[in-house]
Each structure stands twice: as structure tokens, then as C-alpha cells.
């Protein structure tokens, strides 16, 4: 049991008659997956530190339907979307921040046609904004300063939505040595989890995609592999294990790097 986090729910805000600045969309992985929960907590620590007035839907949140849509089940996707939109609109939500690129993409791009119009940000964009506006101050002297870090672009953040700079800007503020993989930004290789692959065995081939991508990362000789997606995190962590490098190299979310650097 670690320190207590302030995590108000929308229902509580409603009862108190106030509207928070942002809604933090936690997502299914961020809620249930043991590794992803740590990312969720790290991001909340940052929100608490910067005194951001936020709330979560808590038990009223449901899967965005991203994975169903990509598996081809448009029906299930739209059922999920319509249910979520009903709740979001009932709370009159305007701004959403999420630590999951899949939720980010779906909320931002696929909910509008079904009546859900929100300003949606990835958590790296939001944290970057907090720093830019002076609401969050980072110590340049920190545990990660000078560490070799490579950033793996999540497909649904990078190619899908052209967000390449926000996560990198955050790593730069920590004063790390950012090393790029050969395939990065627009040509970054997928970790292998997207399009519902996370939930099934891969088709027959001669290698697993996450291993290939981990090899890309290892070529840069990093101390840390950073990413911005709970699914990428799992895939890269497994890849590092397969390569028997887990003793030397950790896989961390950008939010975790920031929170750890500040001893939050």
C-alpha cells in the first residue's frame, strides 16, 4: 500500500456541484492490467503535484470499443461508444486526457460521428502543456539525467495522429540523452499489439513482432526504453525479457519517468 492519491470521480464532483478542468480517461488496460496500473498511478501523481482539477469516471467508465472496432466488430464498438458518449455528455465533459493512445485515437477521431465531441489529449501532450504554462516544475537534476533513452512511438499516437514531439519534448526536459532507433516517428515499427493482436496468438511466422521491435531498440544501446502506451509497454517488456536484457534495461512510460525523476 503506497501513499494515498487524490482521485475524485465525476459522480463526486457532480454531487459537490463542480465541474473539473479535465476528465482523465483511464482505459481498460490502465484500470486492470498490473503493469499499466503503475502508469495510471504515475500520471495521477503528476496531476496531484501540479494541482490539476481532474476527475475520473471510475466504475462508470467502459471500454472505448477501439479493440472491437479494429477486430471488425463495428456493432460492439458502436454500442460501447454510444454508452460512453451518453455518460460523457450527461456530465457535460469538454476535455479528456488519457494515457492510452488507443483510447485517445478513438475518443478524438471516432466518437464525433456518434455524437461525442471532446477536446482530447494524450497524457504526454497534457504534461507538456503543464510544464510550458509553468504549472508543473521539473528539477533538471534528477536520476535520469544523462541516461541513454530511446523512445518507441506507439502507432496510434504517432502515425495514426502525428503526435511525435510531445513525448520527446518531455524526455528532453529531463535532460536525458535521447537516442533514436533507425525506424522512428513515421517509419516506427509497430510493437505488435494493435488491431486486437494483444488478445490473440500471432499467426504463423518466423519471429514475434515485439522481439523484432525490441531488437531495433537494443541497437541503440539504451539504459531505458520509453514509450507512451500500456500495450507497447507490455510488448516491449516481454521483448526485453526474451532478449534476456531485463536486468539492465527497463521499459518505462514517459509519465513514470517524470514521476520517478521528481520522486513523486
Amino acid at each position: 500500500m503506497s501513499e494515498v492519491l487524490k482521485v475524485p470521480s465525476m459522480a463526486e464532483c457532480m454531487a459537490e456541484g463542480r465541474q473539473p478542468e479535465i476528465l482523465f480517461w483511464v482505459g481498460s488496460a490502465g484500470s486492470y492490467d498490473d503493469r499499466a496500473k503503475k502508469i495510471t498511478r504515475a500520471f495521477v501523481k503528476i496531476l496531484n503535484k501540479a494541482n490539476v482539477d481532474f476527475a475520473v469516471l471510475g466504475t462508470e467508465e467502459s471500454c472505448t470499443g477501439d479493440v472491437a472496432k479494429r477486430a471488425g466488430n463495428e456493432f460492439l464498438f458502436q454500442m460501447q461508444a454510444v454508452t460512453n458518449i451518453e455518460i460523457l455528455n450527461a456530465y457535460d465533459i469538454k476535455r479528456i486526457v488519457t494515457a492510452c493512445p488507443h483510447s485517445y485515437n478513438t475518443l478524438k477521431n471516432e466518437y464525433p460521428q456518434l455524437g461525442g465531441h471532446y477536446q482530447v489529449q494524450h497524457h504526454t501532450q497534457f504534461i507538456d502543456e503543464l510544464i510550458q504554462s509553468g504549472r508543473l516544475k521539473l528539477e533538471r537534476e534528477n536520476t535520469f539525467k544523462g541516461k541513454r533513452i530511446t523512445f518507441h512511438d506507439p502507432c496510434y499516437l504517432g502515425r495514426a495522429n502525428d503526435v511525435y514531439e510531445a513525448p520527446r519534448a518531455l524526455l528532453q526536459t529531463l535532460g536525458v540523452e535521447l537516442v533514436e532507433m533507425k525506424r522512428h516517428k513515421k517509419t516506427a515499427l509497430c510493437c505488435g499489439a494493435g488491431g486486437a493482436q494483444m488478445f490473440k496468438e500471432p499467426e504463423k511466422g518466423d519471429k514475434d513482432i515485439n522481439v523484432l521491435r525490441t531488437e531495433d531498440a537494443l541497437e541503440t544501446n539504451p539504459d531505458i526504453i520509453a514509450t507512451g502506451c500500456p500495450y507497447c509497454n507490455t510488448m516491449m517488456t516481454d521483448g526485453v525479457k526474451v532478449k534476456e536484457k531485463d536486468a539492465d534495461i527497463s521499459v518505462l512510460d514517459v509519465a513514470e519517468l517524470i514521476a520517478n525523476a521528481q520522486n513523486l
Binding site: A71, Q78, M79, Q113, L114, T187, P202, K207
Partner: protein, 435 residues
């Protein structure tokens, strides 16, 4: 008798253009077999992407060697074809180099054409070496057998021959060499014909002239059967390319209607349709054959140059899976051609042939290997979206056939039951807070 060459020329020209027009009509008809989508929006943005990507070749240069060589061939081909105008006028009216009267400018133009012709020739040789000697991986993948492989080389031979004929024609043209203006390259070829009589030279010049123009007409008609169709279709295809963020997958309206009905307590889904309205045929969800795809997806298929840039970046293909986004496009085109021929053979009606795109061309194994990463879409130099076809076929598999892999069915059942892809209770969603 004097007009025989002119008449012959007119006949050949008319036949060449006529046959081409006939195939263009067929092409348009086939593309229109696809479902309708309205893409009349954002005209200026669309023109901009066409100008950048097709005209400006902006995506080609992402791979600098191939990109620059391609720009030379592309520019050379377009510019040298200005010369075709002169050839057509000369051919029809029996004139000789009708524009030579314009003086120094003519020399400059032809000089530029000659330089370009040489550059094109050299570039094409390098292309050939990349394909056949260096054997770049992407030209030797599983789908690049027989016809696709030969097609790629035929085009290169065609261009070599056409460029050679153009230069030989100029070199053997005594008149033109005597003018000594514009024969920048051909003056070095002319000495090869040094000992020839004027009559022989004239014969060579005429021969090269005829082969050159007939070659161009043959090439024009070859396009329809070749990946080289991209030199025309790249323009409309980039114009109609996807403008939304790549991660945004289209919304299925037919599903939205049903979902709304289910969610709306005021609508009785079992009510009889109102008097006078036809009970709407439930639309087929997703695609099992080419007619279920949109016309843009079919245009995509005809535009594909089979360059394999998509496949060489595809994570599934790179790790030995069967999926190749290029093959998805080639299969779609092959099946569309088959459907087109079926329609031709049956007086304009498609007669069921017991085949379809799904299964007979594209296997479910390929479809389920896709991570929807958009690498193929990003890599394509002519704005093709193979992923959209994969998704459309997955939709058919899941919504019409309930044929998803078991693990995915479990995952979807979880979402239906407890709002998460895992079997955890929705009531535990906030547990992370206190862990």
C-alpha cells in the same frame, strides 16, 4: 499512293487511341462497381495533396535513390512526350519536323529532350539492375511471381527501346544533324552511321520514327494491363486519398442506424414497417468481394504500382507472416478484372461464378495478421490504403459470419458483459487507486 503513309498513320493512330479509350471506359465501369462514398469535400486540400504527392512526388523521395531516379524518368517521360505532338502532326500531314521553323528554341527543346532521353535511359538501366542483379528484397516477395515480375521488366525494356529509337531517329536525320542545333546527344551517335548512304540513313530515320510512334501507342495500350497504370491513376488516387487522421477508421452508418434503434426506447424494433414503405434489405456488413468495397478502394487497386514499399514496412510481413499489403491490393485488382470479364461475357450482367475475394484470393490468415499499424498507408507513394480493405473484410468475417478467432470472441464477450476486454468486474475499475 503519295498519301499512303499519312493514311496508314491516321489509321494506326485512331486504332491505338480507340482501343485505349475502350479500355478506359471498362476501367471506369469496373471502378464504379464499388459502393458509393461521397468524397466531394475539401476540394482545395485534395488538390494540394495531389499536387504534392502525385505531381511533386513528395513521397517518392523518402527513399532517395529510387526517388530521384523515378523523378528523372517521370519528368523525362512527360517532357519528351511533347515531341509526340510534332510526330503526330508530321505523320498526319506528311511534314517533316514541322516545328523546326521556330529556330533556336527548337534546338533548345530537342536538345533538352535528348539529354532527358539519355538520363531516362540510364535511370531505367539502374532500375533494371536493382530488380534483377541486386535483387532488392521487396521485388522478390512471394506475390512477385510470373506476370507481376515480368510486367516490371517489360516496362523497363519498353522505355529503353523508346529512348533509343528517339535518339537514333535524331542521329540518322541528315537534315537535323546538318542544322547542328539540339543534337546534343545524337551527334555522338551519328558517326556510327558514318559510312551509310543517304538513302540508308533515310530508311533508318524513318524506321526509328515509325517504331517510336507505334511503340508509344502500344505502350499506351499496355497500361491498362499493367502496374504502369499508375502514371495516370496516381492523380485521381492522390486526390481522393484519405484526409482524416490515419487512425480514424470509417463509421459504418448501417450499424449506427441499428444501434440507434436498439438504444432508443421509443422505437419498437419488431414493429411492422409503416404502410407503403419497403422493408429495407439489411445491408451486408463488411466486404467478402470487390463489389462490397468502395469505389476508392477499387481505384486504389488499379493504381497500385506493386512497388512493395508497403510490404517492406509491414510488421507482419517482416516477421514472416503471410500478410502482404501489396498482395491485398494485387488480389483486389485481379478479382476486379475477373468480375469485369465475367460482366463482359454475360451481356453486362455479373453471373455468380462461385468465387469471391475472401477465401479465393485473400485468406483469413492474412487478414488476422494485421496490427492496423498504418505503416503500409504511410509508406505508399500514391496514397493507397490497404488497411481499409483488411478492416472491411474483417467486418464481414465478424459481423456476417461470426468467424473471428476464438480468443477474439472471448475478448469481445468480455466487453459485452463487463465493459473491458478482460473478465474483470466493472465495479473494480477504480481499484488501482488504493493499490
Amino acid at each position: 499512293m503519295e498519301y499512303l503513309p499519312n493514311i496508314l498513320f491516321a489509321v494506326i493512330l485512331a486504332a491505338g487511341i480507340g482501343y485505349f479509350a475502350k479500355n478506359v471506359k471498362k476501367l471506369i465501369r469496373n471502378i464504379k462497381l464499388g459502393r458509393d462514398v461521397d468524397l466531394s469535400d475539401n476540394k482545395s486540400e485534395r488538390f494540394k495533396s495531389m499536387a504534392m504527392i502525385a505531381l511533386g512526388q513528395s513521397k517518392m523521395v523518402r527513399r532517395p535513390v529510387a526517388g530521384i531516379l523515378h523523378i528523372i524518368v517521370y519528368l523525362g517521360f512527360i517532357i519528351i512526350n511533347i515531341e509526340v505532338l510534332e510526330i503526330i502532326i508530321d505523320g498526319l500531314f506528311g511534314t517533316h519536323r514541322i516545328f523546326s521553323g521556330i529556330g533556336a528554341t527548337y534546338g533548345f527543346l530537342i536538345g533538352a529532350f535528348e539529354v532527358l532521353a539519355l538520363l531516362v535511359f540510364v535511370s531505367v538501366i539502374v532500375f533494371w539492375i536493382r530488380r534483377n542483379i541486386i535483387k532488392l528484397k521487396r521485388f522478390w516477395k512471394a506475390e512477385m511471381t510470373s506476370w507481376p515480375k515480368n510486367d516490371g521488366n517489360f516496362i523497363l525494356y519498353f522505355e529503353m527501346v523508346l529512348m533509343t529509337l528517339f535518339l537514333v531517329m535524331n542521329a540518322a536525320d541528315v537534315h537535323f544533324q546538318a542544322m547542328n542545333s539540339g543534337n546534343v546527344i545524337s551527334q555522338f551517335i551519328a558517326p556510327w552511321f558514318g559510312g551509310f548512304s543517304e538513302g540508308t540513313l533515310h530508311f533508318i530515320e524513318r524506321g526509328a520514327w515509325w517504331f517510336h510512334i507505334v511503340g508509344i501507342l502500344v505502350f499506351l495500350n499496355y497500361l491498362y494491363f499493367s502496374k504502369h497504370l499508375h502514371i495516370l491513376l496516381a492523380f485521381p488516387n492522390t486526390y481522393y486519398g484519405k484526409l482524416a487522421p490515419k487512425g480514424q477508421f470509417n463509421n459504418l452508418e448501417s450499424v449506427t442506424n441499428e444501434v440507434k434503434m436498439m438504444m432508443d426506447p421509443n422505437i419498437d424494433p419488431f414493429a411492422a414497417p409503416a404502410e407503403g414503405t419497403e422493408p429495407a434489405m439489411p445491408e451486408k456488413f463488411g466486404a467478402s468481394d470487390v463489389q462490397d468495397l468502395s469505389w476508392v478502394q477499387l481505384l486504389n487497386a488499379y493504381t497500385c504500382t506493386e512497388c512493395g514499399r508497403c510490404t517492406s514496412e509491414c510488421p507482419a510481413n517482416l516477421t514472416g507472416k503471410k500478410l502482404s499489403p501489396r498482395k491485398i491490393m494485387m488480389d483486389t485488382r485481379d478479382r476486379l478484372e475477373e468480375v469485369g470479364k465475367n460482366i463482359d461475357a454475360n451481356n453486362g450482367e455479373f453471373k455468380a461464378d462461385g468465387k469471391q475475394l475472401l477465401g479465393d484470393y485473400i485468406s483469413t490468415e492474412e487478414l488476422w495478421a494485421c496490427t492496423t499499424c498504418n505503416a503500409c498507408v504511410e509508406a505508399c507513394p500514391v496514397s493507397i490504403d490497404p488497411l481499409s480493405i483488411i478492416l472491411e473484410m474483417r467486418r464481414y468475417l465478424v459481423m456476417e459470419q461470426s468467424a473471428a478467432p476464438t480468443e477474439l470472441n472471448n475478448m469481445m464477450t468480455n466487453i459485452e458483459n463487463n465493459g473491458a476486454p478482460w473478465p474483470y468486474s466493472q465495479m473494480d475499475r477504480l481499484n488501482w487507486k488504493d493499490e
